[in-house]
């Protein structure tokens, strides 16, 4: 398993997908709910804060370039506390896998096929997720390389075709809600796209062949993902208006519906759906990968493949029970999940960094085992 290596460009693509994953689907509406027409400023602020978080992650990871996050936990906190922290981390990854399954399934039932049972869509999605994980990280990375082209092409089509409908009046008055509100609303963006990026430490830097460049691609990838989110928020607010953006569950999809160029290119949202589908798929895969690999390393197993199928079934069941409906989901994701993410994805790594600072000398003396 240690022989698997992906190159920095592939990692960059994975980071982009992880950052935009849920971001471009629901973040614009969450931002617009509180920051109103200044949602796009909140997006920029959010990206700025995110970069700091990513910088923290890369710094922690590069202290131990041959260990995954789970192994770092054990090394820094000691065996038992480390394992406890790791278990929390795995619970988070599994929870978000199911959460994303729910996202993608409700996205489909809301917009295309209202009568399809959720469980069928969950099984279909987890099927290709498990398939991807079983084929290995290299295969996932290569697929991401191909599908990023589709993603960017579709995004450009969306942005170009909707741009004639931009109304700058929708953005005015600028900076009405004030600094405090903007920071407050950007927290959701930070938590969903960058704090959760802690799961990427299961790949970075162990499975990447050029560690120096990998750090750069982590940061740049995150920035590019942030730009996508910013663009979509900007388009959402300027085309739909702040209120409409906040009201929609999927403002981006609403944008796609409104595309109408020369009364000919219109109603292409069915195709545009692939945009969100691809991004959601890779984000789900990365969460699931972290959860599967996490359990494998906590239990010191040799191969993660036997775990994929049972854990996949678990994720389907969990996806069926975590949210009773979309409204519930929206409340949970903007309150409880933020604390959940920040505790595991930001607080614990900070504690780890502090503990590391105290025990630094000890690590310096003993060379890296693995």
């Amino acid at each position: 398993m240690q022989n698997v290596k992906i190159n920095p460009y592939q990692y960059l693509v994975l980071v982009i997908f992880f950052t935009v994953g849920t971001g471009i689907l629901i973040v614009p509406s969450a931002l617009a709910a509180e920051a109103k027409q200044d949602a796009w400023i909140a997006a920029i602020v959010g990206i700025g804060i995110s970069m700091l978080v990513i910088w923290l992650f890369t710094t922690i990871a590069l202290w131990f370039p041959h260990l995954t996050y789970i192994q770092i936990n054990e090394k820094v906190f000691g065996k038992w506390i480390g394992k406890t922290v790791s278990v929390l981390f795995v619970i988070m990854a599994t929870y978000y896998t199911s959460s994303l399954l729910y996202y993608s399934a409700t996205f489909v039932t809301t917009n295309m096929m209202p009568n399809t049972p959720l469980v069928a869509l969950h099984i279909l999605m987890i099927g290709i997720v498990v398939m991807g994980i079983r084929l290995g990280l290299e295969t996932i990375a290569r697929s991401a390389e191909i599908l990023i082209v589709v993603f960017v092409a579709l995004f450009l089509i969306l942005a170009v075709f909707i741009s004639p409908q931009i109304k700058f009046e929708n953005l005015q008055p600028v900076y009405e809600v004030g600094t405090k509100m903007i920071f407050q609303s950007s927290i959701y963006l930070v938590s969903s796209s960058s704090v959760n990026a802690i799961v990427l430490l299961m790949i970075f830097p162990v499975f990447i062949n050029k560690v120096k460049q990998a750090r750069k691609s982590f940061i740049i990838g995150h920035l590019i993902g942030g730009i996508f989110i910013f663009l979509l928020t900007f388009l959402g607010v300027s085309v739909l208006g702040a209120e409409d953006t906040a009201r929609q569950i999927y403002p981006g999809y609403e944008l796609a519906k409104r595309i109408s160029v020369g009364d000919f290119v219109q109603r292409i949202e069915g195709l545009m759906g692939s945009l969100w589908f691809i991004a959601l798929y890779f984000k789900t895969v990365l969460y699931f990968y972290a959860s599967v690999l996490g359990i494998t390393q906590i239990l010191n197993l040799r191969d993660y493949r036997p775990l994929t199928l049972p854990l996949g079934m678990l994720a389907v069941i969990l996806a069926l029970v975590i949210y009773p409906n979309v409204v519930y989901q929206k409340v949970v994701e903007q309150s409880i999940e933020i604390f959940f993410s920040v505790f595991i994805g930001l607080f614990l790594p900070l504690v780890l960094a502090i503990v590391y600072a105290f025990r630094k000398n000890k690590f310096k003396q003993e060379p890296d085992s693995s």
Binding site: N7, Y9, Q10, V108, M112, M113, T116, A120, L121, L124, M125, G127, I128, M131, G132, L135, G136, T139, I140, A141, R142, S143, E145, I146, L147, R267, I268, G270, L271, G273, S274, F277, I278, Y281
Partner: protein, 531 residues
Amino acid sequence: MGFLKRRNHSKVQSTSPSQTKETSSTNDLKTSLQDNIQNVKDSLGESSDIVIREIRIGKGGSVKAGIFYTDGLTDTPALQNFIMESLMLDIQGTELEEKLTAEQDVLTSLKDFAMTVGDINDVTNFDDLFTSLLSGDTILLVDGYSEGLVIGNRHWIERGVTEPMSQTVVRGPREGFSENLRVNTALVRRKLKDPSLWMESKIIGTRTKTNVAIMYINGVVNDKIVDEVRLRLDRIDIDGILESGNIEGFIEDSSYSPFPTIYNTERPDTVAAALLEGRIAILVDGTPFVLIVPALFVQFFQSPEDYYVHTGIGSLIRALRFIAFIIALLAPAFFIAITTFNQSMLPPALLISLTAQREGVPFPAFIEAVIMEITFEILREAGIRMPRTIGSAMSIVGAYVIGTAAVEAGIISAAMVIIVSITAISSFVSPTYNLAIAVRILRFGFMALAASFGLYGIAVGLVALTLHLCSLRSFGIPYMTPLAPFNVADQKDTLIVAPIWKMFTRPRLVNQKDQVRQQDPASAKPQPPQK
């Protein structure tokens, strides 16, 4: 007869030291000619095409000799002119005749002075004797010697070098491989007069003893891949290899993937181009189809003609092939998804006309599509197997009658006939047959997904397909190279075809050393004379 014969020769020689010790192994040739003839007759069941001729040569006919050959595989005029005549007539009354007595080394004298043919080898055991005999060589045994001579004069009736049936081009060489391995290697040699073009031979198949040759350009090819090819070929242990498809089945990376990981071609220019790129050709005796490894996904979209025509049209046709690939794969699935789930995507006018057409049709779109696809597959298969004279006419008439009649009878909607036809035509655009097969298989899967999950199902299927393609490897090279892992330099021959003077590097990964094809790319660009 080239490298192949030399290999055989050396093999015989290398085993000879142990043979000279007069071991009592039944495999060794006997000293007595009569015993040997009896053994040959017994082993071959006195087959009627084996000719055994006993002659007497030397002064006063003191030396008994036997000539063995397989009728139909041997060049009989040559045998008579250069072997029988020289042995029985020409040497009469010459100095050589004096030498040919029982006391002298008759075999060496014969070989050195009497045999007026080019290719002569020694044989010491029955296994080699039978292999040579049944391959068409003539065997000369002399009484009193436990070894014999193998005279290479194979000749049989064969198809000449004709235009290939598959992979036809408008512009480009018209010659295609034939069934004879030696002719095929010669066709490649004629294109590449490079001393580094190396050829290794193997005999595979315990009963068919099929000659298989591996060709590559030493110094350009990736040695690891050559080793891998050798290893996989050596692993084959079967009684018969009848076509290169049999070899392909044994050495390909994943048998259950619908996608081919080995390229096959009938065209010498394609093989030469592949060799120049650092690939390896596997030629099999008895088939015009030559295998090329490693084979990548984009290779199946490349036609040799792309490089012989203008870069603009080459690129457009390349793009067209990718589009046709997608249409052939997805058109029916897309139609099912849109008419069943995502009607909103259609403009109202089109939607109304489609709905009106489908009004009288009793089946769901999926069933309709499956009926038409299966009908088409039947027609196509019948068209290939039918006698050629009626084949094409029958399939056209069949398709027309069934299509039109089915629509008028209200079983199938007219739109579905259009969709199935466009799918069928698109699947023939692919320059390689075996990629079209993959599309044919996968199309039904996509139709089922579209019928149950609409566009979402298709998207899921496409992601699964991408994952599968990315997981494949051909002899260690990721199948989707240079798309993933992405490689800028190799894009010149992927989705577009760059001008020939711009293709100055070989594909990366396939070839690791000697990357550069032309030394100075800047000067390669055609330009008007400078004053």
